[in-house]
């Protein structure tokens, strides 16, 4: 039996994720479910909702973030504003869960121990997928139950679309977990596909208001949007999601049957017998250069794709009088162009913060895995060791933002200086979050991964915060909220310099903590 032991392994997975899965499900599902209340406060009457729906659909930078508004009922607005974000959250969580219980287990050697028991060849993968299914089912249930008051059919459609997107990426991760020996790389590949799916959907929706662009249909996140919950549900789109889940599951099982435990399809090549690595900085570069290369390519491509849409962003959507009025109110051609660029640049900034946090926490990972200990037993001070990783975190985030700005400006064809400047103006906020990660790692290493929470919170505040009717004090928590909206607004040096100084202070405090505390391991 190739499935023997699946139940036990699934229970083990759920037991290990007993905090993570309920928390993600509650946050993801709860965000959507609570959206109706927030939006009702903002747009209480049907007229207000029709107005916001029309103006948002007319605005291509808004469409690229959230997609077009398909229905102007309260449920329709919730699906528009929170649907994409929730689908991405479910996808991220599903990728994490699946890789954690497949390739991570193999890489650490724990799988070998488990597989030596009465465990079938397909059991570990099945158990991981069941854990992801539990997560995505919980998300779907919370969304459906929370929005049932807005219409049962729409609520169910949105729940299934969000949970289904999670399963599309869970099964995608099941495939990438077979391809590489490194869990980090398997996660990276799945995340790259998720990024690509987001860019495709955003590009498609920026170009057309109907949601029917080819680019949108190439993206699983575009499918979730095109289920059109609360706006004449297209149930057949769910079949597309189901088909993707089934195909990817079949591929993953086929691959897993053809390889050894712990192995992949790419054999490890021998390395040099003598090394040239001589410094902690060179080692950090060697460890992080692959990730930095991936992020650089992603940001450059993303910039090029979005840059190509800048011109279209200023085209009037529809030729009716209402659309023309909205167009004028938004500042006409140059206003819309700048708004689109500013939105894109801010999005790149918030995502660059994820790179910066990951890069800082790489040093934390080196420490907890025990690899830092023998390094620090050499004539290598802690600060110098940390500096190797921090240079990449802080310099690398500058590099990828510059590449995104370059991509935007090149394919837009105008304003190279201002667009590049706008991209780099995101850096103080990115660095502040990276600095927070340094502080947590240096001063409270057990809580270092909370830096992910901070970066995620900023992303959530920037993406859906305005629609949650939160007080300004809450929105001000994100350093990105304090940056000038470039291009378009005037450069405000005050907040930029203040955030840079704050980032420097956080790094200094974190390094001071690192000097004083015990090395973990």
């Amino acid at each position: 039996m190739t499935l023997t032991g699946t139940g036990t392994l699934a229970r083990l997975a759920l037991r290990r994720d007993r905090v993570m899965i309920p928390l993600w499900a509650l946050v993801t599902g709860g965000l959507v479910a609570s959206g109706a209340g927030s939006l009702e406060g903002l747009y209480g009457t049907a007229a207000e909702r029709a107005e916001i729906a029309a103006s948002m659909t007319a605005n291509s930078s808004m469409r690229s973030l959230y997609g077009p508004v398909f229905g102007d009922s309260l449920g329709g607005l919730v699906a528009w504003r929170f649907g994409t974000f929730a689908a991405v959250l479910a996808a991220v969580a599903s990728v994490m869960v699946v890789i954690r219980h497949t390739r991570d287990e193999e890489e650490t050697g724990r799988q070998e121990m488990l597989s030596a028991g009465a465990v079938g060849r397909r059991a570990p993968l099945t158990a991981a997928l069941l854990a992801a299914l539990a997560l995505d089912t919980a998300v779907a249930l919370i969304v459906t139950a929370g929005l049932a008051g807005q219409g049962a059919a729409g609520a169910l459609a949105l729940g299934l679309a969000v949970g289904g997107t999670g399963m599309v990426f869970a099964t995608l991760a099941a495939v990438t977990a077979q391809l590489t020996e490194s869990a980090r790389l398997a996660r990276g590949l799945a995340a790259a596909v998720l990024g690509l799916a987001f860019v495709l959907r955003a590009a498609g929706d920026a170009g057309t208001a109907s949601g029917d662009s080819v680019l949108t249909w190439l993206s699983p996140i575009g499918w979730a949007e095109n289920v059109r919950a609360f706006a004449g549900e297209r149930w057949w789109v769910l079949l597309l999601i189901l088909a993707a889940v089934l195909v990817q599951t079949a591929v993953a099982y086929a691959l897993t049957a053809r390889r050894d435990v712990g192995a992949s399809f790419f054999a490890t090549r021998p390395g040099p017998a003598e090394g040239r690595l001589a410094t902690a900085g060179a080692l950090a570069w060697r460890l992080q250069r692959g990730a930095l290369l991936g992020w650089s390519l992603g940001f450059l491509l993303g910039g090029l794709v979005f840059g190509g849409m800048v011109e279209g962003a200023a085209d009037i959507v529809g030729d009716n009088e209402q659309a023309r009025q909205i167009f004028e109110r938004m500042g006409g051609r140059s206003g819309l162009t700048n708004a689109f660029l500013a939105t894109m640049v801010s999005l790149f900034g918030m995502i660059a913060a994820l790179f910066a946090v990951a890069s800082v926490l790489r040093a934390h990972g080196e420490e907890t895995s025990g690899r830092a200990e023998p390094l620090l037993a050499n004539a290598l001070g802690r600060i110098r060791w940390a500096a190797g990783h921090l240079v990449i975190a802080f310099g690398g985030s500058a590099l990828i933002l510059a590449l995104a700005g370059l991509g935007l400006a090149l394919s837009y064809g105008h304003d190279l200086g201002p667009v590049l400047g706008a991209a780099l103006a995101q850096l103080p906020a990115v660095w502040t979050l990276a600095g927070l990660a340094v502080l947590l790692w240096g001063a409270v290493p057990k809580a270092a991964t909370a830096a992910w929470g901070a970066a995620g919170l900023c992303l959530a505040l920037g993406w859906i915060g305005p629609a949650l009717d939160l007080p300004q004090a809450a929105l001000d928590l994100s350093p990105f909220g304090h940056l000038p909206k470039l291009p378009g607004q005037d450069m405000a040096w005050g907040p930029v310099l203040a955030l840079t100084a704050l980032a420097a202070a956080l790094v200094a405090a974190g390094l001071a903590g690192l000097r004083r505390r015990d090395v973990q391991g």
Partner: protein, 314 residues
């Protein structure tokens, strides 16, 4: 002789776990010092304090005459360390790691010596970190340590995972290091290894040093087993101090005696006329088992605590 390592009254707690509870340790320059104790006794914690990776809660520690916390980096130029569980970077070859460690210590490695050690340990330096077995990962760290020109070698259960042939290579490397005047602190569970290599040993239990001295001195503290065939039944043996587990079958006597009380027992035996006599000195195993077994239960408890801590961390 100056002290290579001197530690007095070292305390270190992790939450509720008291890993070190007033530990003392003295290692003379130029000796190979065995560092022994059951799992979870505090050996690795002590070593991490000596490397300046952990800061002790209280107590004094000096390595090569300096405070390891204050002067970690300068001290590390003169120290080579082999951890018990070597974790390597999955995409770096063994050779790269060896050279990296050499350069980070300052000055790099003697090429000829590096090549010789790779040859002796039969290590393939072109393999990547993820493809090495446990023993081979250990060899990477051992080659890096023995190829470096340092005053002090700190080895934390360095031979776990090595096969018997490699164990022999390791022992000859330690012997050579001593001949060249190096000091070695060797934490180990292999008693034969300790017996062969070490000049002196310290035994720790639950964060405290319970015995310290040369093997001869330690043996003196334990029991010798004696079997004798006598000319006439023994007389008054049971009343002698230090005699244990006495069994008398006719004229045949078997007993255990505290080694420092051996003299009186022999006098009493010769008083009855000795026909044959076997006296077995205590094996090292007996020596350690006496210390290890005493608080088996307490140590189990201790290990559970540590396990719980690890789970919280991961």
């Amino acid at each position: 002789m100056t002290k290579a390592i001197s530690v007095a009254g070292l305390h270190k707690s992790f939450g509720r776990t008291h890993a070190l509870d007033g530990l003392d340790l003295t290692v003379e320059t130029g000796e190979v010092h065995g560092f022994l104790g059951p799992n979870g006794a505090g050996k690795s914690t002590t070593i991490r304090v000596l490397l300046g990776l952990l800061r002790p809660d209280s107590g004094a520690a000096a390595v090569l005459g300096r405070d390891p916390w204050q002067h970690a980096v300068e001290l590390h130029r003169r120290i080579a360390y082999v951890p018990g569980d070597v974790t390597l970077w999955r995409n770096l070859s063994g050779g790269e790691v060896i050279d990296l460690f050499g350069r980070l210590r300052g000055g790099g490695l003697d090429k000829a010596r590096r090549a010789e050690l790779i040859e002796r340990f039969e290590l393939d330096p072109t393999k990547k970190g993820r493809t090495y077995s446990k023993g081979n990962r250990q060899k990477v760290a051992l080659v890096a340590a023995f190829a470096s020109d340092v005053d002090l070698l700190v080895l934390d259960e360095p031979t776990s995972g090595l096969d018997p042939l490699m164990e022999e290579v390791f022992q000859s490397c330690v012997t050579e290091a001593r001949e060249r005047g190096r000091t070695v602190l060797l934490s180990s569970h292999l008693l034969s290894e300790v017996e062969t290599l070490c000049d002196r040993v310290s035994i720790v239990r639950r964060g405290r040093t319970v015995e310290s001295g040369s093997l001869a001195e330690l043996r003196h503290l334990t029991r010798t087993s004696v079997t004798a065939e006598l000319a006439s039944p023994p007389n008054g043996l049971a009343h002698l101090p230090g005699v244990h587990d006495l069994t008398v079958t006719g004229q045949r006597v078997r007993l255990q005696v505290d080694t420092d009380k051996l003299d009186a027992v022999l006098r009493s035996l010769t008083g009855s006329g000795v026909r044959s006599l076997t006296s077995t000195p205590p094996t090292l195993e007996e020596l350690f088992l006496r210390h290890y077994a005493d608080d088996q239960h307490a140590d189990d408890q201790h290990a559970d605590d540590q396990h719980a801590d690890e789970e919280v961390r991961s």
